[in-house]
């Protein structure tokens, strides 16, 4: 169930992520430093021609786990204001799949809390991605390094995803 039904904010979107909206959520006169992290779909030299990544999720758990993750960050940096959005669906190379904005009274907390959130996302948020490549092949990305491609795809290593590390 999407939180939109409850008229609450959802951590997920299927549209382009609005950085303005995220910044507006964390904006406060009491905060002198704001840190923004954008994770974008990468097509670098190691990516075998990634045209897009298809993101899917266990959506109900993503919402619940994001709420717990942000609560954990709030407990560690009580003065920080945190907003995060993860995009799902097919995201072309170069576009953002995740955006995190953290505002805090001072820059150190903003940087630390922002880093904490993205690292915890990588560990805890049940989202999966399938690389869509220019040669027409599709490969599930497995950050643990075990091969996951369902069709036989010549790929020496699947550990490098098509997004930021």
């Amino acid at each position: 169930m999407r939180n939109a039904e409850l008229n609450e904010m959802s951590y997920l979107t299927r549209s382009t992520i609005s950085l303005d909206a995220l910044l507006a959520e964390v904006s406060s006169a009491a905060c002198g430093g704001t840190c923004v992290f954008l994770g974008t779909v990468r097509d670098g030299p190691d990516e075998h021609g990634v045209t897009a990544i298809e993101y899917s999720a266990y959506e109900e758990m993503v919402e619940a786990e994001f709420a717990r993750l942000v609560a954990d960050a709030d407990a560690r940096w009580p003065e920080a204001r945190i907003a995060v959005r993860h995009r799902l669906g097919t995201i072309p190379s170069g576009e953002a799949s995740i955006a995190i904005a953290v505002a805090a009274p001072h820059r150190a907390e903003a940087f630390e809390a922002c880093r904490f959130v993205i690292e915890e996302v990588k560990r805890r948020i049940p989202v999966w991605k399938k690389e869509l490549r220019v040669d027409g092949s599709e490969v599930w990305v497995d950050p643990t390094g075990r091969p996951t491609s369902s069709p036989p795809v010549p790929l020496s290593a699947t550990r490098r995803g098509g997004t930021h590390d």
């Binding site: 266990y58 786990e65 989202v127 950050p143």
Partner: protein
């Protein structure tokens, strides 16, 4: 601490991403005799659904939207999700 019941529990199992593709479905209902663990649910799924043999024996799992270890107990009506390696962000 909830007292673990006896009898039979019906568990809704959900599959995602590559696991859903391997098994050819996104969910299944399995019955297990209580007391039972998430690991028992995985074993039952692998026994009852032929394509589920393709799943790892010890996948990452969640019960009712929380990650758990495979020795976590399940109750009637629980939702068990089998999660491929998380690749978010």
């Amino acid at each position: 601490m909830t007292v673990t019941g006896t009898g039979t529990a019906t568990i809704r199992v959900r599959l995602f991403a590559r696991y859903a593709e391997l098994v050819g479905r996104t969910e299944a209902a399995v019955s297990v005799a209580l007391p039972a663990t998430v690991g028992d649910v995985v074993r039952r799924l692998r026994d009852e659904v032929p394509q589920a043999r393709a799943l790892p024996e010890r996948p990452l799992a969640a019960v009712n939207l929380r990650q758990v270890k495979l020795d976590a107990r399940v109750q009637d009506g629980d939702e068990v999700a089998l999660l491929p390696p998380i690749a978010g962000g």
